[in-house]
């Protein structure tokens, strides 16, 4: 059995590279101006959110690819390669995690300064950063091993037609070539081992990262489900990003024919089903906290959704319905939370309910894009209200948006280089 796929180098689109480069520069500039300016905390917090969001997409994409490998999925075809193109960010995300360490005073202010009592050992710099950096590091190594073996069988001969930096890179990547069949079998064996390990480490590791990097910002609050909710958001954002990429490549000369209607339908189904699971996770935690109504538990929800969803007894009373929208709007962060619900659940649910909607590239792509935006806003809502419960626009400012755009530019740039230059996306060989 020889490789059925081959590399497909295309060269970068110059305007896109310029735009992404400028955005990256803007973000980097805003970040350094921010941390040296009067309010370093704003820059560090925005950095933290976007680091988690884009790192989550990349790692979530890795998880998606590993799931395809573990279950031996045949349906994704090139969709698997599209998901893979996001994973080049995983090692970068490890580097960004190390950089984030230097902003810890601004992000984890609460548990670094307050007396944490019995939690002091758990929430200590050594424990938190030791564990989290180890998780990011191990996942980065696993992703690199996986990608190397996933792409190598398709790259034979690609170095001959490449030029410049790509040539050296591809030559190195395909050194000691053992023949198509041997390479393919070897690669599949390695991927078959790396994939389940990645999934286990993601499941446990990203749960811990959710606890350490997000939940600990409100250090006295706790939720056992939070880690799962956080890592599910990463996975969902990766599926949405893959769907957006698939819809955008629908007319691509080589990739387009691979984005068949059944594949698009399946991606749409995943966006639909997994956004429901996202809401389900939220609901599962909300329900018990709403019922228990204990101050140490409600504090996190109250800062975001306000009393209407918690203490107001009649808000959900069918016999005496008194859900006050005005009162809801008085809570600074509640309107933004409503937008998050709309983007992450209501729009994907009703938008993708029908079969035709899931099969129309521009429609399913748009809904997935809304979902992706909703999840970015969700990451903001998870973090900002812990710092500024009264200021609903804390996430919206020049520094914050510039840093987010910088991350976006860098992420797209890495994705483009990885999928178009080295090693480039692989497509089935045309017979």
């Amino acid at each position: 059995m020889s490789s059925a796929e081959q590399a497909n180098p295309q060269g970068l689109s110059r305007p896109l590279v310029i735009v992404c480069g400028l955005l990256t520069l803007l973000g980097t500039g805003a970040f350094f101006a921010g941390i040296m300016g009067e309010h370093p905390e704003t820059a560090w917090r925005a950095y933290h959110i976007n680091f988690l969001y884009f790192g989550g997409i990349a790692q979530g994409a890795m998880v998606l690819v590993c799931i395809f490998t573990v279950v031996g999925a045949k349906w994704p075809g090139t969709v698997k390669r599209l998901a893979e193109s996001f994973t080049a960010w995983v090692p970068i995300s490890f580097a960004l995690a190390i950089l984030g360490f230097f902003g810890k005073e601004h992000i984890f202010e609460a548990w670094l300064t307050e007396d944490m009592g019995f939690k002091a050992g758990w929430l200590s710099v050594g424990r938190v950063f030791g564990a989290d950096l180890a998780i990011f590091g191990v996942l980065a190594v696993l992703a690199t091993i996986y990608l190397y073996h996933s792409l190598r069988p398709s790259l034979n001969g690609a170095a001959d037609s490449a030029t410049g930096l790509a040539k050296g890179f591809l030559t190195k990547w395909t050194s000691n070539w053992q023949g198509d069949d041997v390479e393919q079998i070897h690669a599949e064996r390695v991927m078959g081992r790396v994939a389940p390990i990645t999934l286990w480490i993601f499941a446990f590791g990203f749960t811990l990262i959710g606890f350490d990097q997000v939940m600990s910002i409100t250090p006295h609050w706790f939720s056992n489900l939070f880690g799962t909710f956080f890592s599910w958001g990463c996975f969902l954002s990766a599926i949405a990003a893959t769907t957006v990429l698939a819809a955008m490549n629908n007319n691509h000369p080589q990739i387009g024919p691979e984005i068949t209607t059944p594949r698009l339908h399946d991606l749409g189904k995943m966006c639909f089903a997994f956004s429901v699971v996202w809401m389900y996770m939220f609901w599962s935690q909300y329900l018990v906290i709403w019922y228990g109504n204990m101050p140490e538990e409600t504090v996190f929800f109250e800062a975001r959704l306000g009393p209407v969803f918690l203490m107001d007894a009649d808000a959900w009373n069918l016999a005496n319905w008194n859900f006050s929208v005005e009162r809801l709007m008085e809570t600074p962060w509640a309107p933004i939370c409503m937008v998050v619900w709309a983007c992450c659940w209501i729009i994907p649910f009703f938008g993708l309910l029908g079969q035709k909607a899931k099969k129309t590239p521009c429609f399913v792509g748009s809904v997935a894009f809304i979902l992706l935006f909703g999840l970015w806003l969700e990451r903001n809502v998870l973090i900002w209200p812990s710092f500024s419960p009264e200021d609903r626009f804390a996430w919206l400012g020049f520094t914050q948006i510039a840093i987010a755009l910088g991350f976006l530019g860098a992420f797209v740039l890495v994705q483009q280089v990885f999928s178009k230059v080295v090693p480039s996306i692989v497509v089935p060989k045309s017979s």
């Binding site: 329900l287 019922y291 109504n293 007894a313 959900w316 016999a319 005496n320």
Partner: protein, 167 residues
Amino acid sequence: MPTLLGVFDNPDDVAEVITRLRARELGALETFSPAPFDQIDEALDEKPSKVRVYTLVGGIIGVCLAYLMQIWMSYDWPIVFSGKPYASIPAYTIIGFELMVLFAGVLTLIGFLIVGGLPQFSTLKGYSARFSAEEFGITVDCSERDASEVEAVLRANSAKEVSVVDA
């Protein structure tokens, strides 16, 4: 009104015959296939089954019934939980969801039996056990006048045998 039966080995031929007979409107078709095949499904191009209406109705009945039942029970034996009103929606959502699934599932089964006309004690006209093994069959209810044309279409698409099952 005669019924003709054609026997085939290949699902592609079956799909082709279905498309041609449909195009000429030569009569009502019945297809026997040992397993589902995409090409046959596509050629048949049937309307979505009515079973889904049963599922929807079952789901709606289930969720409404669940809320009504729980709220009625809460008022019938009032105990205050956590200071919440008796008729609080979030508290009853889980059972609402469960009963929705239960009723939708049960009604789907009922709908499946009704729409499929099951249980059926006599086999369909033209059916034989080999259509559950490895062969395909198509029966066509056509008019006397069209019989020869139907037979020609069946034979032209590699029917192994063509017979009249009901004259």
